[in-house]
């Protein structure tokens, strides 16, 4: 792939951004060194483009015209907007942490009566105190060479650090709400870390939203460290404004005999990339990853998953659905790697796209890379329009065409939403889906 000969305006802008910000970014010497080296890695290759295999369907270099200035600290007006922003999980009783314009705002966050065994720290504070755990985790994480993640490591300003001590079962889900308030386009780099100790269990929901009509840029990363016999349910909802660029990385390292349920839901943003790097590091672990993207207009949403079975006797299921209207484009890339020692791996990946218009596009690239000889792995992909026979059956019972289609779309997406163990999450996502359906002419 090699370095591009000529830097684009956005690449030069990002270099300026980093040079100007590096002294004021949180963290001591050690963190600074990690940032510098991450930025150098990014700078060597630049923004990813079509010839970079992992990004072949999402030409970030071509589509990102410029780097927006870093968002400033939220003022009172921004905080008010954030407080009043539509909350998908309102009334569900979750513990909500507010990240406003990239900054953890303690006064808007529910930090009262933390359960025993739970600690929550703003990432900026954790970085300043140079916790060794963080600097290690910020450095050589799973994909060393991903340019978007390298950029995040270099520029990450704030986020949430959530630690659940071994054996702690958190009944109350934690909702990390990322809200962009400023209509004037800025960029935000957030980094969060969730550490679930052995035998502990937690539900973490992250939502991302912002104003329509603004070309703001989000680069966010969430690192999940899950201990042996632990369980994490992680839900990520991308409902950015209609002009937003949203790039998100989930890094998950899962211990032995653990449970990892991940659910992604995309219904916003003009250019969205959700990439996940999941490593099953210990034996006997069960992973269920599901995703749904509801796209219209000229939206482009890319879901890229790399799952690495590094230990034996693990099971993973990946189910991805995309509903694509107008001239939107859905991308799914899924790669399952089974390491030589990971015998008895049972991995199945399915990706389905429902195209609602002739111009809608879905691209999918499933891959299996298997180095063990006693495994069961499979993948499947389907792309199609709404089934006319099913539509006719519903209409023959009196249901108008638009409602019949809505029912079939709901049913299609339902399999993903049903994956959420928590009833409030299922119902909030169902509402979000119905809202999306209601907005179609």
């Amino acid at each position: 792939m090699g370095a591009p000969i000529r830097k684009t305006k956005a690449e030069m802008g990002l270099a300026d951004l980093y040079q100007n910000a590096r002294r004021s970014l949180p963290g001591g010497e050690e963190i600074s060194a990690v940032r510098d080296s991450a930025f150098d890695r990014f700078n060597a290759v630049g923004l990813p483009h079509r010839r970079v295999e992992a990004w072949r369907y999402t030409d970030l270099r071509g589509r990102m015209k410029e780097a927006k200035r870093l968002a400033s600290l939220p003022d009172d007006a921004a905080k008010t907007k954030a407080r009043e922003a539509d909350d998908l999980f309102a009334g569900a009783g979750f513990r909500r942490l507010m990240i406003v314009d990239g900054t953890f705002v303690a006064e808007l966050s529910d930090l009262a009566d933390l359960e025993a065994g739970l600690t929550i720290t703003p990432m900026a504070e954790a970085l300043v105190s140079d916790q060794p755990l963080l600097s290690q985790r910020l450095g050589p994480v799973v994909p060393d060479d991903d340019p978007a993640l390298a950029l995040n490591t270099a520029l990450a300003g704030n986020g949430a650090v959530i630690c659940v001590s071994p054996g702690t079962i958190l009944a109350r889900p934690i909702h990390v709400s990322f809200v962009t308030t400023n209509w004037v386009a800025t960029s935000m780099f957030t980094r969060s870390l969730v550490n679930i100790g052995s035998g502990a269990s937690a539900t973490i929901v992250e939502t991302h939203q912002g104003p329509d009509g603004s070309e703001y840029q989000v680069n966010t990363a969430m690192q999940l460290v899950v201990g042996d016999e632990a369980r994490i349910d992680h839900v990520k909802v991308t409902r950015e404004g209609d002009g937003a660029l949203h790039i998100a990385t989930v890094l998950a390292n899962i211990g032995a005999r653990a449970t990892f349920n991940q659910l992604g839901f995309v219904a916003g943003g003009v250019l969205v990339r959700n990439q996940m790097f999941v490593r099953l590091a210990g034996e006997g672990t069960t992973v269920d990853i599901r995703g749904a993207s509801l796209l219209r207009g000229s939206q482009h949403a890319d879901t890229t998953l790399a799952i690495e079975h590094s230990a034996a006797n693990c099971q993973s299921r990946e189910t991805f659905k995309a509903v694509v209207a107008d001239t939107a484009q859905a991308v799914f890339q899924g790669k399952i790697t089974v390491s030589p020692g990971a015998q008895k791996t049972d991995a199945k990946m399915m990706c389905r796209a429902l195209l609602l218009s002739d111009e809608a596009e879905a691209d999918s690239k499933p891959e299996l890379e298997i180095f063990a000889d006693d495994v069961q792995c499979g993948h499947g992909t389907t792309t199609g329009a709404i089934d006319e026979e099913l539509r006719f059956y519903l209409m023959a019972r009196g249901i108008p065409e638009k409602d019949a289609d809505a029912l079939l779309i709901q049913a299609f997406v339902g399999e993903v939403i049903e994956g959420a163990a928590n009833e409030s999450i299922r119902s909030a996502l169902t509402d979000a889906m119905l809202g999306w359906l209601g907005q179609r002419e």
């Binding site: 099913l390 019972r397 409602d403 049913a411």
Partner: protein, 253 residues
Amino acid sequence: MTALLEIKGLHAEIAGGRKIIQGLDLTVNKGEIHAIMGPNGAGKSTLSYVLAGKPGYEVTAGEVYLNGEDLLAMGPNERAAKGVFLAFQYPLEIPGVATLTFLRAAFNAQRKARGEAELSSPDLIKRVREIAKTLNIDADMLKRPLNVGFSGGEKKRNETLQMALLQPQLCVLDETDSGLDIDALKVVANGVNALRSAERGMLVITHYQRLLDYIVPDIVHVFAAGRVVRTGGKELARELEATGYAQYQNEAA
């Protein structure tokens, strides 16, 4: 008196131009049960789809009226709201849509189209349960996705349940006996017979006479090569069982 269903000089073909129905005349009055019998390929199922308004079936000539209204000008959902019900030969499976959700959507959509008030969920559920009981459908089946994993008999009982709930004026039963053992057939036939009324007409489409032992028609038509070639009373069904359709196929050709 206006006929419930009036078909005049109907010609229809499927996408690709194959002519299936070729000059059909048929009148069904309220309170009557008509059986349409005929060999495979005669166009029986096509007739049911044309009446229900399935896309891909093109009417090239003729008229169809329901209570004097032009049925062919209506979309499938409008026809349903006006009282046309097609019991499918092969009911479709819809994963992810619970049977009860589907019933509620259909019932209230029809009410809305007719300008009637929607029924509240508890009232609707109560009504569905009462009907389900008479058809040996257990409550668990209503929660399952529509027809998914249902046996042939369960699917047909589910069709009958929908018919009883929606209370159509014209019931078109397409090969309702296919895939049914004798016990299931009796349950379904009882359900259909319970809907016999002076205000309702039925068109029972079948290849075999067996179904007509349980759903006894007033009038029997022999359908061959896209039109009615003979009409008689219920005894005609027994005669066909003995003689077969060969003579009519020759006649039609």
